[in-house]
Structure formats: structure tokens, C-alpha cells
């Protein structure tokens, strides 16, 4: 398998799906829709919709019209969180992925409204799955996950704890909770929804939730490791930024070698679930390895 080529195909497919569900830039609301679409089209790995789709495949899902509204929805939710994170009152970031952030281009009021619009439109979009799914119960279950995981007991909760922990001492327990919520919650939602809509059993959905959580955590620890071990040339951003910002990370808490061990442990736990007998998705396996052992 030429992984890079296969990945590009997936990204192209995910973007085709996402773009097809974006609102048309017309009417009196044109400007906020432009701001919403600008944010979504500004790039990104499209990791969450791809993980959703591949998990759907892993469990034998076949009805594109059922899963696609959710693929678009999860990317809208991810994007809304970035747009609001970048606001002056939050991280005050002017650039993301080399492009001006939404509030810089469209103004702060429109940045707030575009984020609100994306979050709301995500649920509106996901509801379109009901027209195509003959088994409405799985859509209900998928929708429950889609509403729960980004919220105060998921991603948003992690964001809040993170904002509040600035300049405070952070324990290992708290650091894990922040990452479980901030990073893992949307990955859990993505993979769980893929499994649910493909008709996976309750036990299988729980396993996938756990695998997704470990993937998110391993991804995050790898981030901390690269900040210490990589070079600015490879990473494309300044290294040692955590140290400079006096930020608590896995590396500062447990040291580099134990952090590496944990990445390996979490990855193995996730892979054991993905590769469990009866399941086979070579691309998904490879994607997870690439994500976690990445050099940048």
C-alpha cells in the first residue's frame, strides 16, 4: 500500500463530503456563511471524518448517505472550536496553518457568530442522516454521541480546565483529564459514530471508545515529546515552546523515556482493539501508526 497516496484519496473524499454539506454563500446571511466556510476550507488533516469513515468501514458500513452528514458535522464542530479558541479573549491567534484566522479576516463579532453558526449547523447537518438511515435507532445513538462528546463533559470541558490551569500546578491526573477531554473526546466521537452507524454491538462500541481515547492520548504525548526531541526544521514550528511557556506536559511530569513508553503502551492497546479477530482495515491500522509515530 502506498500510504501517502491512499491518505490523499481519503482527504480528498472527506473534503468533498464536508464541502457538499456547507451552506451556500448567498442571501442576507451571506457574510456569516462566508466566514463559516472560510474557516472550514482553511485546511487541516480532516483526521476526524477520516477516522469516522474508516471505523465505519471496519465494521462493514456501506450506506454513504448515512455516515456522510456526520462526517461533515464532526469537522464543523472541530472547526468551531478552533475559531473560538483563536478569538482575542481566548488564545488571540492571528494565524492558523499559515492563514489569517477567521476573526482577523471577518472581525471579532463575525468570528463569534461564525463559530456559533458552525456548532449549530453541525447538529442541523447530522439530522439529515435520518432521511437516509432505515435504522433510525442508530442515528439517534450517533446523535447522542455527537451532542455529548464536544460539550461540557467532553471537548469544551477540557478547554475550560485548560484555560483555568494556566500558571497553576497540574497533576498527572489533571493533565490526563485535560487531554482526554480536549483531544480524545472528538476522536472518540468520530470512531464511535462510525461503529454505531455500521451496526456494531454495544460491547464493540465501548472497545472503540477506549481505543479512540488511547489514540488521542498517545497523539498528545507524542506532541509533547516532539517539542523536546525534534528540531525546528523538521517540526516547522519553534521547539522547546512548552518549557518556555512553563507548561506542564507528560515529559516534564514523567520524563522522556517514560513518556515514550506510554505512547507505545497506548498505541498497542488501541491497535489490539482495531486488529481484533474478525476486523480488518489495513489503512486504519497504518493511519494510527503514522499519527502516533510521526516526526512532526
Amino acid at each position: 500500500m502506498d500510504f501517502k497516496e491512499e491518505l490523499e484519496k481519503r482527504v480528498a473524499y472527506a473534503e468533498k463530503v464536508i464541502y457538499s454539506y456547507l451552506p451556500k454563500e448567498e442571501g442576507y446571511q451571506k457574510k456569516v456563511i462566508e466566514a463559516m466556510n472560510y474557516s472550514v476550507k482553511a485546511g487541516g488533516k480532516r483526521l476526524r471524518p477520516i477516522l469516522m469513515w474508516e471505523t465505519y468501514q471496519l465494521f462493514g458500513g456501506t450506506v454513504r448517505e448515512t455516515i456522510e452528514p456526520f462526517m461533515a458535522a464532526i469537522e464543523m464542530i472541530h472547526t468551531y472550536s478552533l475559531v473560538h479558541d483563536d478569538l482575542p479573549a481566548m488564545d488571540n491567534d492571528e494565524y492558523r496553518r499559515g492563514k489569517k484566522t477567521t476573526h482577523v479576516v471577518y472581525g471579532e463579532a463575525m468570528g463569534i457568530l461564525a463559530g456559533d453558526g458552525l456548532l449549530n449547523f453541525a447538529f442541523e447537518t447530522a439530522c439529515r442522516s435520518f432521511s437516509h438511515n432505515t435504522d433510525g435507532d442508530t442515528t439517534v445513538e450517533a446523535l447522542q454521541v455527537l451532542t455529548r462528546k464536544p460539550g461540557i463533559y467532553g471537548m469544551l470541558g477540557g478547554q475550560v480546565i485548560d484555560v483555568e490551569s494556566v500558571n497553576q500546578e497540574i497533576t498527572m491526573e489533571k493533565l490526563e483529564i485535560i487531554h482526554k477531554l480536549k483531544t480524545s473526546a472528538l476522536i472518540e466521537a468520530s470512531m464511535m459514530i462510525g461503529a454505531i452507524l455500521a451496526g456494531a454491538s454495544e460491547e464493540e462500541i465501548k472497545e472503540i471508545e477506549f481505543a479512540a481515547r488511547q489514540i488521542g492520548l498517545a497523539f498528545q504525548i507524542q506532541d509533547d515529546i516532539l517539542d523536546v526531541t525534534s528540531t525546528m526544521e523538521v517540526l516547522g514550528k519553534p521547539i522547546h515552546s512548552d518549557e518556555k511557556n512553563n507548561k506542564t506536559t507528560y515529559v516534564t511530569l514523567i520524563g522522556l523515556s517514560k513518556a515514550k513508553e506510554q505512547v507505545a503502551d497506548y498505541t498497542k492497546q488501541a491497535m489490539d482493539i482495531i486488529k481484533k479477530s474478525g476486523r480488518k482495515n489495513e489503512f486504519l491500522e497504518r493511519l494510527i501508526i503514522e499519527l502516533i509515530s510521526r516526526k512532526k
Copy 2:
């Protein structure tokens, strides 16, 4: 009927329902939950959940557990819109209903996150209706309305057009669109969801949507009229504020006497639908009259 007493009962019931669905102020996310609950508990007429409940009654609905999550959800959505409207980058209001606004009490970042949290939690809460409704199809339909009406083609769209129209000439057509979206959309959602969950027919739901729209418009025009005809003593806020802010209103566009005619017309259209043969809800009829002919 002692209307005031009956209204107080409804407000107490609506608040009991709303509060019962609010998240508990505990755990690492405690602060954002406090900010969310502060905003919801800061008062208000609870008009939307009451209209939802009364429309549910109008069509013979009986299962409280089905409608109540939606009553809480619509109030959370209404509250999120106020919290974000009050932000410094938007209207920059420090007080609402005599209390400090959320971002003044909890900081701007928390104001943004609390609004996001409420919008997200509204959909999470509404999904709880699925566990109690034996007819899942009506919950799906109600959820579709709940996701559509507050969004870019509803309330949020109106907000955007309004923000963009500052210091611009506004036509009658545009003014109606702003009010239909900003004011009527959530009233439409409230009454439609009441009708849908009570098992009203497609035609009845359409009628209720129209009635709700007219109620929202009449309410808004009455607001414009009072700004010209009332006194500060009665209204409890400065009069002639529209004129001072050079704001286009129904009164500036069509004059006081035509504006009054329109309130009467819209009210009659709404009442004809509410009182249509086979339907009876004396309190709802009275509530609408009171809303529209109010003196403050």
C-alpha cells in the same frame, strides 16, 4: 381566570423544568457550569418554554418527560444567544435585567465558553427526550426544528443581518426578515415543537408555524410602538431610544397608525389559528393577547 396567578404558575413550572436539566456545579468543569447556570437563572419571562408547553396542551399532549427536555433546551438556546449578544465584541452590555452579564462576572473567555456550552448542552438535553417518547419519529422531527430555527437560516441569521445593517438604510422587506429571524424563529420553534410532540398533523404544524411567526412580528412591532408612545415611568427604560439611535423601525417606516393596524392584523391571524375549531386553550389565547397589547 386570574391571568396573573395562572402565569406565575406557568413560570414556576417552566423554571422547575429548566433547572432540573441544568448541569450540576461540580467537577473540574465547575466554573463554566456555574457561568452557564448563572445566565439561565438570571431571570426572564420563560416565554418560549411556556409557549411550547401551552401549544403541547392545545394539541392534547400528555407525556411530560417527552416535552420537558425540549422546554429546557429552548431556554438554553435563548440564553446562549443573550450571553453572546452581550459580549464586548457584540453589544458590549454590562447589565441585563438588572444583573451583571455573564462575561462581566466570569470574564470574557468564560462568557464565550458558557454560551458555547449552553448551545451544545441544549441539543444534548433535547436528545434525552428519545428515552421517553414511544413515537421516536416525532422526537426526530422536533429535533430537526430545534436545530434549524436557531441557526443561520433562523435566529443567528437575523442577528447577523442586524449586526451588518447598523448605519445602513433598511427597507421594509429587510426589517421584516430581521424580525422574522431574530424574534419569530425561536417562537416558531417553541410552538412547532409543542405541536409536533403532541402529534399534530403536518398541516396543523404549518399553521402553528405561521401563527408563531405573526406573534413574534406583532410583539416586535409593539416594542417599536411603545418606544414612541409610552413614558419612561411605565416602560422602565428610556423612550425614544430608536429615534436617538437613528434606528429604522416599523414606526419610522410606516408610521404609528399603520404600525398599530399591523399589530392588530397579525394578532388576529395568529388568534384565528389558535382558536380554530376543535382547539381550546384559554390561557394561551390570553397570554398572546397580553404579550401583544402590553404597555411595557
